[in-house]
Symmetry: C2
Subunit: 353 residues, 2 copies
DNA sequence: GCGACGAGGTTTAGCGGTAAACTTCGCTGG
DNA sequence: CCAGCGAAGTTTACCGCTAAACCTCGTCGC
């Protein structure tokens, strides 16, 4: 037990393995083994005695010491890229992922470090500097994931379609979701539709949703020229601006598929503000099924992702790979794509006129 | 430089202080001093040489080793209580706080550990086990904060009104916000109003808002019997249920003040669903000014908190206290209350009839 | 009767850093 | 002319824990 002077002149108590060892009359290693569940080499009597003393003394393991000695920290980092203003991008999505990870990992004795990444090199640096056991990438652009060179720990990338074999992608069936949206609008009778999403490169999440959407529309007989796409960012406000200008900029369009519920809700607000009605004048369909989607008026029809499953899956995979003692992705694990489904509320109806 | 066999038979490189020291022909301590900016005792020439080698070798400090040796980790933990299901409570609020903290602290060389707390004893354990430098409590009930016994590191409690002198509270002017809401409704002519918020004990955030609201209503001449309160939780769905039953359960009420925008939006949705109109039949006013509040129809009139300021303030205080080398709150630092203001949108109007 | 073996430990040698005390040496002031 | 000092390092000791090798019995098979 180490007694240290306190700010108030009192003492602070820190129990170490050696304190327990002294009191139990055994070596430090024996105590260490008991504490870590490696009890094969310790007699039941000793185990009980050690555990009793540890409990009485309020032993709490020292994480840095353990990390240093074992070269493994029991930490999984949630890495999130930072924007221009150097602040973390915290969408509801990120939140759900990071919060869910913490819950899942805590139950398995792991911890979560939340870290913003300014430059991709920091990923490898963080892994080394912290002796991380695993990494989950949230909201990383695929091109950055492609370039990562981390091969000592498992790397799980949420919503990634990166070709990097070391990064295990966990995402929803974005292509299928796009198809569901396209089919829903076409089935309702819409002939001129618009896809609204952020600019994208390659076949990432947005590209997949667009591809699926377009495919379903064309399959339903829409004219390729009548299946448009418009680039907007993903905030409410971007959506609102699109909604305001919709009638003017896209006069013939009777339905919009937005790649995110934020965007969709913004679009609905913009349309209403401009004097239009949803779904009377324009139908709107979103993607995600965020909690507020059913509390708008009308409720937002949207493609629901199973976020809890996505997070659970990501957490499960990191842990799994850690236990396997795997370097990132060397087992060639397949990416995971989770099912999505259409949630019908009130924002899609027949085309006007 | 340590070369370690790799999964692929390659090698992995880890640069340590001693590698730099060897190459520069100086001692490890000199390198350590250079790296930590304690350069007073090192000649400019040596500093430059060491920095050059460090950069070339890609030196990354080992955090656990540093934490162990210095008994200080440069980690600030964001501690969040867990609910019954043992999962982290991640409200938009939590998110903003944790994300903002990360941004702020990263720029000062600190890191953020996100951890769910199942039992209050874990707070002190976490502080010791990780050699934490500081703690920020998010969404902790005041009674739990009252009972905390952590006196070695600064403790900042978001939205706390706890009497624990060691916990520095950072919150908005909840009482003032409540008054603003009450005055706004009374000024609009409402005579029977309702306060909707979660059950509360003592004078925490909810208690303050209620007190301020009630006070302003009474000051405006409303009958105390006509200033009601109803207990609901804070989700959209809780609000919706209240909105659905509002006309039936509270027939004379013409305006509702909800302690959270979630709740307020849910209430509006419920009222609309029951065939009522906002603000025609009932006025609704919220608290927070979350991003979606201006995209509902009508837009939500609400009391805006300055979240970025709250987070910045909390981060600033922890860092400040850490630099001061202070144990928690021993400087008797005053709690901080941030200004709020009324954001007028469309959900408040004159009473019906 | 003794070598092998397994149970139940102990010992040794770090992990990569840091704090604090100690050294060396050229200057400087009285 | 030398005690004293500051600049620029170096040395020593240790942070708390763990992996891996080593030790010491009692027992068991042949």
């Amino acid at each position: 037990m180490r007694l240290e002077p306190d700010a108030d002149g009192g003492v602070r108590v820190t129990t170490r393995l050696s304190d327990i060892a002294d009191e139990a009359g055994v070596s430090v290693m024996t105590v260490s083994n008991v504490m870590n569940g490696k009890r094969a080499r310790v007699s039941p009597a000793t185990i009980e005695k050690v555990l009793g003393i540890a409990a009485r003394l309020g032993y709490v393991p020292n994480i840095p010491a353990r990390s240093l000695a074992a070269n493994s920290s029991h930490i999984v980092a949630a890495l999130v890229p930072v924007g221009e203003n150097n602040s973390l991008l915290v969408s509801p999505h990120t939140v759900a992922v990071v919060g869910g990870m913490e819950t899942h990992l805590r139950h398995h004795g792991y911890h979560v470090l939340l870290r913003g990444i300014e430059h991709e090199d920091q990923v490898a640096q963080t892994v080394r500097g912290w002796s991380l056991d695993g990494v989950v990438l949230v909201e990383f652009p695929d091109e950055q994931i492609d370039r990562l060179r981390v091969d000592t720990v498992p790397l799980v990338a949420i919503d990634s379609y990166s070709a990097n074999p070391r990064a295990i992608g966990v995402r929803s069936d974005d292509d299928g979701g796009g198809r569901l949206a396209g089919k829903r609008l076409a089935d309702a009778g819409h002939r001129r539709v618009l896809f609204a999403g952020p600019p994208y490169q390659g076949m990432g999440v947005v590209g997949q949703r667009w591809a699926g959407f377009r495919e379903a529309c064309l399959a339903a007989g829409l004219d390729p020229d009548d299946v448009g796409a418009v680039e907007v960012l993903t905030s409410f406000e971007d959506g609102r601006r699109l909604g305001l200008r919709l009638r003017h900029d896209h006069p013939g369009v009777t339905a919009v598929f937005a790649t995110a519920d934020h965007l969709a809700v913004g679009i609905m607000a913009g349309i209403a503000e401009a004097g239009g009605s949803v779904p009377g004048d324009v139908s709107v369909i979103g993607f995600d099924d965020l909690d507020f989607a059913r509390y708008t008026t009308p409720g937002l029809t949207t493609i629901a992702q199973n976020m809890p499953a996505k997070v659970a899956e990501a957490s499960r995979i990191v842990l799994d790979e850690i236990e396997r003692g795997a370097g990132a992705g060397d087992g060639g694990r397949e990416p995971v794509a989770l099912d999505v489904h259409l949630v019908e509320r009130g924002s899609v109806g027949p085309p006007r006129g």
